[in-house]
């Protein structure tokens, strides 16, 4: 089975190549290639990946818990001195979850795209890009080493750029693509620096390596030595993750990225690519676990982002923007989860979020499709009459994100909140503050999502005349994916029912070989503060964890079950209380939304009139874009225009180049006297040369 690993990423690559070739072949023709062929190739490729991934998953389930690692080395890539990097795929429990999520949601969205993109001239190009994205994303999650992960990381960035600017003839959409790319570059720069830091650190402590298994072993062997490195590399890598996963302060590209086709928003900007940062931190959990500082930064930034994005979401008029801010907010939850050491909880939320957010996006896409591109929610309303299936699935997903039991969002979000509450971050008040912040954010989330639901599907019809004429339920190729994702939104949570509710938390158990040890180390390190003994104990624990094998998994399993049981300062009663609280605040948010947009539609307006300043601030997204423009973009322009161009380029660089030119001309003026244009003169020079040689030989 291991030998089939390569098929998972390469099958979409082949699809991308074929579709891309077709797109190029037809680029000068009026009509594109037949959509049936394109969609068959485009959907068969990820479907094949999904099937293979499923087979590998089944195989993995059958394996011993500790042995659940599959590897395949394809060929050496960079082979230079101490730096040996192979193109190799590596699948453990964590990667497996990611692969399954990516291929499953990806395949569903591919099918959905057939309906959404129908009759678009760039159909073949679209599927080519989408398949290429699948390849890059799967490389990212399956790569065995950091450089390969980075390749996938850049690959998804590229595809994101291509797909945001898919309708490139619209200058704003093209600009949105560029914005996404440039903001990502900033993060990627830090990410690269992080990779270098890690590599240099490994060079200093034995063999230089960037392979995850080797790296984890090395870190476990020298925990003290890697503490500082963990902080530096962790924060640098986290800045990269901020860019990719749209966290403060690099989140600004994601709302603009909604310019792309809606399935793209669902796949790339909600379900998969933006979660790459979370995956990366989980993948490097062994490193992050050593640094309370880095973890604290991650958790704090995550929590702040969660609240901040949620508040912006309240006032947005564009349905996709609402969902975009919601995505940023939910990503904040995930980062907070991994920041407090609850890696499996973060990944769990990643998975459930993939389902319900994809469902929400696709539902929004269905609405937009039906209304011929209308995205303003205040021009919708009452659509549930026309689009029953869409409305139903959207509603289910909304309940899921609002955290209403027993839907998926409830379990995952509640686990994050509980882990945060019980975490041992220092200073001691931090977990409480984070909990409160995200608790409020949860309520706001419920409010704005249901605001969207009510504005779109219920209440008075506010359709424009043109939209009214076209409104219809989407074709089954679009609704069936919606139903599948809705089912996923309902059921995905049951994989991780906490023990307090009588579940077995199977998800945790599955992930524990991959991240369990790191979770344990986190608690040990953070709980112990900074004392020397504590670090020693932590190191011991880490070593023990690194020793691997059955011992490890049973050990961490115990620890985790303890954690689940609330041994870290919590109790069953408290856990249930918090659960009830979060459900209540979610329901409260829903009710407020209902009160404001169904029962009393004039209320929002009067509120916004009364608090005009605050409303404008939130409606204008806190004017972050404008602030960036004034503080960063304009000085940058100024610097490049006035300094780099006018002084350095014109004077220094051009001066050097022109100087060479003048010099060459000077030589030329002298040498041209030799060039008479008469061939025989040249022959004479050759003869003279030969004569000189002969003279040397004779003399």
């Amino acid at each position: 089975m291991e030998s089939y690993l390569w098929i998972i990423p390469f099958s979409p690559l082949i699809g991308a190549a074929i579709n891309g070739a077709l797109a190029i072949l037809y680029s000068h023709k009026e009509k594109g290639p037949r959509e049936e062929i394109i969609s068959f190739i485009g959907c068969a490729a990820p479907l094949a990946s999904f099937v293979i991934a499923l087979m590998i998953f089944i195989r993995m389930i059958g394996m011993d818990e500790a042995d659940r690692i599959l590897e395949q080395t394809l060929f050496p890539w960079i082979w230079s001195g101490a730096l040996n990097i192979e193109v190799a795929f590596f699948v453990d429990a964590l990667s497996m979850v990611m692969v399954l999520v990516v291929t499953c949601v990806g395949t569903i969205i591919h099918f959905y795209s057939i309906g959404y993109m129908a009759k678009d001239r760039g159909f073949a190009r679209y599927f080519s890009y989408l398949n290429l994205f699948m390849f890059a994303m799967l490389t990212l999650v399956m790569g065995k080493n950091l450089p390969l992960l980075f390749v996938g990381w850049e690959g998804v960035g590229l595809c994101s750029y291509l797909l945001i600017g898919f309708w490139y003839s619209d200058i704003y959409k093209a600009a949105a693509g560029k914005k996404a790319f440039i903001v990502n570059r900033i993060g990627d720069f830090a990410f690269l620096l992080g990779i270098f830091v890690v590599y240099v650190a490994t060079l200093e402590h034995g063999a230089g390596t960037l392979d995850f298994p080797a790296l984890s072993g090395l870190v476990a062997a020298h925990p003290e030595a890697f503490r500082g490195v963990a902080t530096a590399a962790g924060i640098l890598l986290f800045i990269g993750a901020c860019g990719k996963s749209a966290q403060i302060p690099l989140y600004v590209w994601l709302p603009d990225a909604m310019a792309g086709p809606t399935p793209v928003s669902a796949l790339i900007h909600a379900a998969t690519m933006v979660t790459a940062g979370v995956y990366m931190i989980a993948r490097l959990s062994f490193l992050y676990a050593l640094s309370p500082l880095a973890m604290g930064v991650v958790a704090t930034v995550g929590a702040l982002t969660a609240l901040y994005a949620a508040t912006i979401g309240i006032c947005q008029r564009d349905i996709k923007k609402v969902l975009a801010y919601s995505t940023i907010s939910q990503l904040g939850y995930m980062f907070m989860a991994v920041g407090v050491g609850a890696f499996s909880a973060g990944i769990f939320h990643l998975m459930t979020h993939a389902f319900f957010k994809a469902c929400l996006f696709l539902g929004a896409g269905s609405v937009i499709h039906a209304l011929r591109g209308e995205q303003d929610m205040f021009n919708m309303g009452g659509l549930s009459k026309y689009m029953k299936l869409t409305a139903l699935t959207f509603l289910i997903a909304s309940f899921a994100i609002a955290g209403v039991p027993p839907l998926a969002g409830f379990f995952s979000k509640d686990e994050i909140l509980w882990s945060t509450f019980t975490s041992s971050l220092s200073p001691g008040w931090l977990p409480m503050v984070l909990w409160v912040v995200t608790f409020i954010a949860a309520g706001i989330t419920a409010f704005y999502v249901f605001r969207a639901v009510f504005l779109t599907f219920y209440g008075k019809k506010r359709l424009t005349a043109e939209a009214e004429a076209h409104v219809h339920e989407s074709p089954s190729v679009m609704t069936v994916p919606l139903i599948l994702l809705a089912i996923g939104s309902i059921t995905a949570g049951f994989l991780g029912v906490p023990q307090v509710l009588g579940g077995s938390n199977a998800f945790h158990h599955f992930l524990s070989p991959a991240v369990g040890a790191a979770e344990h180390v986190t608690h040990a390190v953070q709980g112990a503060g900074d004392s020397v003994q504590a670090i020693g104990a932590a190191a011991h624990a880490a070593k023990e964890a690194a020793a691997g094998g059955v011992q490890l998994s049973s050990y961490t399993g115990e620890v985790l079950s303890e954690a689940g049981g609330g041994s870290h300062g919590g109790s069953h009663g408290l856990e249930i209380l918090l659960m009830v609280l979060s459900v209540l605040i979610g329901i409260a948010g829903i009710l407020v939304a209902q009160a404001m947009y169904i029962r009393n539609p004039t209320l929002p307006e009067s509120i916004s009139r009364r608090a005009r300043g605050l409303y404008n601030l939130v409606y204008g997204k806190y004017f972050v874009d404008e602030a960036y423009r004034e503080t960063l973009v304009k000085p940058g322009y100024f610097l490049s225009e006035k300094v780099f161009f006018k002084v350095i380029d014109v004077w220094i660089i051009d001066g050097i180049v022109n100087g060479f030119g003048v010099m060459a001309r000077g030589f030329g003026t002298v040498l041209r006297l030799l060039q008479t244009g008469v061939v025989r003169t040249y022959a004479l020079f050759i003869l003279l040369g030969i004569l000189y040689l002969i003279y040397r030989m004779v003399g």
Binding site: V679, R680, L687
Partner: protein, 100 residues
């Protein structure tokens, strides 16, 4: 008794006659023929050395030289014909476009 030197002297004389032709004459056809003569002189050296070292590698080289000479003659004469068609001259000194 004819020694290797005799052949080599003959080769040198022929070669420099060719050199002289290239330098002295202005008619491109004659220059081309002089180059052929020089190639032949070299061939003679090859063959002579081949005989006096009892190895046939020189023959192979002479063969290659002939092939190259044939290619050179073909191309050179074709260029010459083109030149004459366009410029109505075959005088080397009239063709100084390389300078301008």
């Amino acid at each position: 008794m004819i020694t290797l030197d005799h052949y080599l002297y003959l080769s040198a004389i022929l070669f420099f006659i060719g050199v002289f032709g290239v330098l002295f004459r202005r008619n491109l056809i004659v220059i081309l023929m002089s180059i052929e003569l020089m190639l032949n002189a070299v061939n003679l050296s090859f063959i002579a050395f081949s005989r006096y070292t009892a190895s046939m590698d020189g023959h192979v080289f002479a063969f290659f030289v002939m092939a190259v000479a044939a290619a050179e003659a073909g191309i050179g004469l074709a260029i010459l014909v083109m030149l004459f068609r366009n410029r109505r001259t075959v005088q080397a000194d009239d063709l100084t476009l390389m300078r301008d």
